[in-house]
Amino acid sequence: MTAVVTPAPSTVDTVARGRVRRAARRRLVITLLALAVLVAFAVTLMVGRTFYPPGDVLRVVLGSDVPGASFTVGTLRLPRAVLAVVAGLSFGLAGVTFQTMLRNPLASPDVIGITSGASAAAAFAIVILGWSGTAVSVTAIVAALGVALLIYMLAFKDGVAGTRLILIGIGVAAMGKSITSYVLSKAGAWDFAEALRWLTGSLNGSTWEATVPALVALLVFGPVLLGQTRNLSALQLGDDTASALGVRVERTRVIAIVAAVALLAFATAACGPIAFVSFLAGPIAARLVGPNGSLLVPAALVGALLVLVADLCGQYAFGTRYPVGVITGVLGAPYLIYLIVRSNRTGGSL
């Protein structure tokens, strides 16, 4: 073996070609996912009790007044579709951030109790305190950060998300759910769908007032997370290796946790904890993209697609209208069991 300072041109070529190929695969997946999100978004706007053709929908979205369509599409369907996309992107991004950072697909915020903490706080603020709007979002964020901090203190050992963290997280999640149930039992006149919003997540009755804070949070914290892409990729190699590569591990972790928790909390305050979206988005994106670079953007798009499609299914695929969280819950639960079974054998990674 000899140490080579100047590489062979053929090797440089191999390296460059491999890199271009990986990037191309990732770009293709991102493009297809973005198109799929766009289509699902359009279908959400067109389909319902009355069908509106794409032309009508487009005119409403662009601001023209179309008799009938303006109210149904502009006031009822548009906020719902936008919230579906915003919440999906937020859940997907936050989930894959946690999974990447903790090197464990089970360590998604909805499995380890952060989402249910936000949800319990939001339900408490609305039902018991009678708050609304920003106050609810802030309560959800504070609670979610509190839960994240609690889990961090209870379970973190040198940044490794072992079984300990997952078990503590599942316990915390159960606590959050029971608080939510208790709060809902105090809310006398709430109807079933409204209650379900805070247990499994629902887009029923979406309004711009609920959507806008989540959208703003996405525009603020999304780029913050994307800015950490390279640092998160380095963290996948282990804390020591990342640190040796010049990553400030603790700082990266704090930025990623705060940004991801904020995304989650704002989305949860708007539509409840849509079950398992943050848990599913990362692994699905990993299957699609393969080991070809960061999963942040693909997972965000998968999240949006999941919420849009699950909401369409929940509304129209069955005789009864189910909230979106029921559908994603049915999809997510078997996968959770599969992962737990598999992680016993291999230790599991994203």
Partner: protein
């Protein structure tokens, strides 16, 4: 690349919580040479290495790179001069060799900067140097232990640092792969002047491959110097609590330690005769 960077520890005390591992240690790493750190299990070898690459902040004292405290240097600046290969790095599932080696470019890249020609060249040079070029597009998890270790070393090489610290680079490798890795590190040292500091378990390989041998015991340096000066029967007894016989390695001319346990230590008569007769 030059070999003029100086790395030193000054009155260094390291601890995990209440447990002090290294106490008041002074160490000078000779520039452009290969240094091996040896010692009993849990004597603080890895801890010392982690602190020298600022993974662990000292309780007191300093680690100095070119006279500046490493814990004060900007993280990326340090990572362009000083590389570390930890004992058990983690390869993400399915990652390709070229991609993993490319991660070594991190300290040379900015947040949203594009991948550059220099990055490609550095990765290619690292692959060539470790003879992992044919593996470039393979998944790391499909490789054998020896191949995988060469890939991790390639990642550290892509970082293009003048100083390279390695924590037990030969663990879990069979003897042929151990030699392969140590030969590779020697090549690096000789052709590029890379200063190498490595923790090794095998005393005899350490004595053969190191220019400078450091024996740690009880959080202190018991002895440091050339392998001939350090690897003695007294040293082995003091550091490992083991009786031994140190002879001259007929292959390398370096000291060779033969452990003496409670069994199998009576020399065969014919061997004794042939040595005394010669």
């Amino acid at each position: 690349m030059t070999a003029t960077h100086s790395l030193a520890a000054e009155d260094l005390t390291l601890a995990y919580g209440e447990r002090t591992v290294i106490e008041g240690l002074d160490l000078l790493v000779p520039p452009g040479r290969i240094t091996a750190v040896v010692g009993a299990n849990a004597c603080g070898k890895s801890t010392l290495l982690r602190s020298m690459s600022r993974l662990l902040a000292p309780r007191s004292g300093r680690v100095l790179l070119d006279g500046k405290a490493v814990h004060r240097l900007p993280a990326k600046e340090l990572a362009r001069t000083l590389g570390l290969l930890p004992q058990s790095p983690i390869a993400p599932e399915g990652i390709t060799v070229a991609d993993l080696v490319g991660r070594g470019r991190h300290p040379h890249q900015r947040v949203f900067s594009r991948w550059s020609k220099e990055d490609d060249a550095a990765v290619a040079a690292a692959l060539d140097a470790t003879e992992t070029t044919p593996l470039a597009d393979r998944a790391v998890d499909e490789l054998s232990g020896g191949q995988r270790q060469r890939v991790w070393i390639a990642m550290a090489l892509a970082q293009q640092t003048d100083l390279l610290l390695l924590d037990e680079p030969t663990t879990f490798l069979d003897v042929a792969h151990q030699i392969e890795v140590l030969d590779l590190l020697t090549d690096l040292n000789r052709t590029r002047g890379t200063t190498i500091v490595m923790v090794l378990h095998d005393l005899n390989l350490a004595a053969r491959y190191a220019d400078h041998l450091v024996a740690l015991s009880g959080g202190q340096i018991h002895a440091a110097g050339t392998p001939e000066d350090v690897l003695t029967e007294e040293c082995v007894r003091a550091v490992f609590g083991l009786d031994s016989q140190v002879i001259v390695d007929p292959t390398s001319g370096k000291p060779l330690m033969l452990p003496m346990g409670r069994h199998h230590t009576a020399p065969r008569a014919d061997v004794l005769q042939s040595t005394s007769g010669s």
